[in-house]
């Protein structure tokens, strides 16, 4: 214990595999994950729905009783979380590793005041009095930029706006100054205008309390200016890992390239088209053989990719940049911008965001497709009867 490596590794996930048993078979939700999160870094996990991002987070928190961990370890400061007794685990949960959930309205208890819910953290982990806990809650609300925190602490979640609720969630998570904050899609349920504010709060807090953040998102755009490292997940596996620059400018996995090509950019000139990734993420019960991405991959070579499961391999020496593609070296030459400029030649359906905010799908040949009327009510959640 003489030399402390800088930066200190907080969380180490080693060859983690796990899944759920369902009547239809086993869902391989996490399949061989390896990653480290160091103190103070912002580690982004990116992927489509069902890629295993949230399950990974829940496995670290130990909040998914139905998830069976088959093998691997989750080391927290060198100690395996999976082998800990429940009491020790609870002390870490919330105290050292805290979590921010996606939908702050449903994640906050409707019958308790916001102040009480935030203060409860301090009561659990530091055993402070009810009064001291409330004072702490007010302090935390102030820290996340909620005006009139003393008054707000006495209010209920339904009296808060969406952005304020998420700030309150953040305030709750940081009450005990956790070393790691896991934020699972923290801005997805929010208005675009509020998203940036909430992300800024997260980043400011990270510096303020010197904690690491594991930011889970399906939106590469969110990651761009913020993350130190990015892990791209696909079908419960790591597709690519690297620094943000490596992922954005030197991506070596067809899936990452696909994600980048399907994302609108501020520096678009208008000549570019958005290129969607064809198809759907695979069912995790019947994962495609070989590389799980091969059925959707524009670079796939049917013979090899269908039969060989690619391991995560380093892109170059002396870097954390790694990709799980058999042909990662050949992807060096792929130019994402070029891909998008040339998309006009393909028979692809692309989406265009018009000035008034409506999405006007149009065919690449310029013919107008069906448009979404501005007044059309697109429900966000809970529109389907369960």
């Amino acid at each position: 214990m003489t030399t402390v490596p800088v930066p200190e590794t907080l969380l180490s996930v080693r060859d983690l595999r796990g899944g759920f048993d369902t009547p239809d078979g086993r869902v391989k939700a996490i399949d061989g994950l390896n990653f480290d999160i160091a103190r103070g870094e912002l580690f982004a996990v990116v992927g489509e729905s069902g890629s295993g991002k949230s399950v990974t987070a829940m496995a670290i928190m130990g909040l998914l009783p139905t998830l069976e961990i088959d093998s691997g370890e989750i080391l927290w400061k060198g100690e395996d979380l999976l082998l800990m007794d429940e009491e020790r685990r609870r002390a870490i949960r919330g105290g050292e590793i805290a979590m921010i959930f996606q939908d702050p309205l449903s994640a906050l208890n409707p019958v308790h005041t916001v102040g009480r819910q935030i203060g409860e953290m301090a009561r659990i982990h530091e055993g402070v009095s009810r009064k001291a806990a409330l004072a702490r809650a007010i302090e935390m609300l102030d820290l996340v930029g909620i005006p009139e925190p003393a008054k707000r602490a006495d209010m209920y979640p339904h009296e808060f706006s969406g952005g304020m609720r998420q700030r309150a969630m953040i305030a709750m998570a940081i009450t005990c100054k956790p070393a790691l904050l896991i934020a699972d899609e923290p801005t997805t349920a929010l208005d675009v205008t509020v998203q940036a504010q909430v992300l800024q709060v997260l980043v400011d807090i990270k510096d303020e309390i010197d904690s690491a953040i594991m930011l889970i998102t399906h939106d590469l755009g969110v990651v761009a200016g913020l993350a130190d490292h990015v892990m791209v997940m696909y079908a419960g596996r790591q597709a690519e890992v690297g620094t943000t620059d490596e992922i954005f400018y030197e991506s070596r996995h067809p899936y990452t390239i696909g994600l980048l090509a399907s994302m609108p950019r501020l520096d678009d000139t208008g000549a570019e088209a958005l290129v969607p990734i064809p198809g759907q993420p695979p069912s995790l019960i019947r994962v495609p053989s070989g590389c799980p991405f091969h059925p959707r991959c524009r670079f796939a070579r049917p013979d090899v990719c269908r039969s060989t499961v690619p391991a995560l391999m380093p892109v170059g020496a002396g870097t954390r940049h790694a990709s799980a593609c058999l042909f990662l070296d050949e992807l060096d030459e792929v130019d994402v911008a070029g891909l998008r400029r040339s998309a006009g030649d393909d028979e692809l359906v692309v989406a265009d965001t018009t000035l008034d905010g409506t999405r006007a799908p149009r065919r690449a040949d310029g013919a107008a497709g069906p448009t979404l009327e501005p007044g059309t009510d697109v429900h966000q959640d809970s529109v389907f009867e369960p």
Binding site: L63, M99, S106, P110, V111, I124, Y156, H158, E159
Partner: protein, 335 residues
């Protein structure tokens, strides 16, 4: 909150008025002339003169609207009239019977709340376990058994069987009457009293308890899946504290409504229970008043029951607002 309370309190007045007006009209729609009954009953062929005198004496010869108006005029001053049958003041009868019904109802509702809710919660957290399955079967059975059948079964099991088998005396429960009428703080049975109370109270509570248990189970299962319980777990709370501190209050919302509405069911069931156990309460008195066409007693006791029902529901609404801040009044909740 206070304005809401007053508004709700005022709403009790029309509720009671309409309920009793309905009862009043229903009484005259019943077959059998009250005057004939008063004069000795139809089967004894009373003298027509006696019948007429009875009709006159009790004001039954006046037009219906006049009787109705006079009754309300007196009732407004809390004079409930005299019994056709015994001539006793209905206010006295009410005072004597109401306390016994209240004792029974308090215990029945206590059983419903304590047993029903805890069984429901345990059943929900041990979902699909053997105890959960047994509970589901038991509650289904309990809510299906008619009150009087259950009363007789319990009487047989806890009074007849111990007697026949010569079981020790403390296992031997009483089945008829009020008993020694010894209470501490008006409703806590003292001495031998509990032997008389326990069977009618359990009988009265049975159906409601089963319903409360089922409702709690369903509501708790819903809440256990809620995101905010996941948040509570993520804070590092123990599962017990997650359930009691964050789950219970949310899960109670539908159950509270049920218990409030159930008060009406309990009153209905009390008529049967009190009759089966000869418990001298409002229920058996109302049942007697109906069969004896004793209008003042029927109306007076029903008035008391209706007011009690309205007040209990007011309390339920107020507690609902306490349990769920989203419907707390005076603040405009968006939700």
């Amino acid at each position: 909150m206070f304005a809401y309370f007053v508004r709700r309190l005022l709403l009790v007045v029309p509720t009671v008025f309409f309920a009793l007006s309905f009862l009043f009209l229903l009484f005259f729609a019943l077959p059998g002339d009250p005057a004939t009954l008063l004069a000795g009953g139809a089967d004894r062929n009373p003298d027509p003169g006696v019948v007429e005198r009875a009709r006159e004496r009790y004001g039954l010869d006046e037009p219906l609207y006049q009787q109705f108006g006079e009754y309300w005029g007196r009732a407004a001053q809390w004079d409930l009239g005299e019994s056709f049958k015994s001539g006793r003041s209905v206010n006295d009868i009410l005072g004597e019977k109401a306390i016994n019904s209240l004792r029974l109802a308090i215990w029945a509702i206590l059983i419903e709340i304590v047993v029903g809710i805890s069984v429901g919660v345990l059943s929900a957290i041990r979902r699909y376990s053997l105890s959960d399955k047994l509970t589901t079967i038991a509650t289904a059975a309990a809510s299906a058994v008619p009150v009087f059948v259950l009363g007789f079964i319990l009487q047989y099991l806890f009074a007849v069987v111990p007697e026949k088998q010569g079981w020790p005396d403390w296992l031997h429960l009483r089945t008829q009457g009020l008993g020694p009428d010894t209470w501490t703080f008006f409703f806590i049975p003292t001495g031998e009293q509990w032997r008389y109370l326990i069977l009618p109270a359990v009988t009265l509570a049975c159906v409601s308890t089963a319903l409360a248990a089922r409702m709690t189970r369903g509501s708790m299962l819903e809440v256990l899946r809620a995101d905010y319980l996941r948040t509570a777990r993520a804070k590092g709370l123990s599962e017990r504290k997650v359930v009691t501190g964050h789950g219970l209050r949310n899960a109670m919302l539908p159950v509270i409504t049920l218990i409030g509405l159930d008060f009406g069911t309990v009153i209905g069931a009390a008529i049967l229970t009190e009759t089966v156990f000869s418990w001298p309460g409002l229920g058996s008195a109302i049942a007697d008043a109906v069969s004896e066409r004793d209008l003042p007693v029927l109306l007076g006791l029903s008035l008391a029951v209706t007011i009690a029902f309205a007040l209990v529901n007011l309390l339920v609404d107020l507690s609902y607002a306490w349990f769920d801040p989203r419907i707390r009044l005076g603040k405009d909740a968006e939700v």
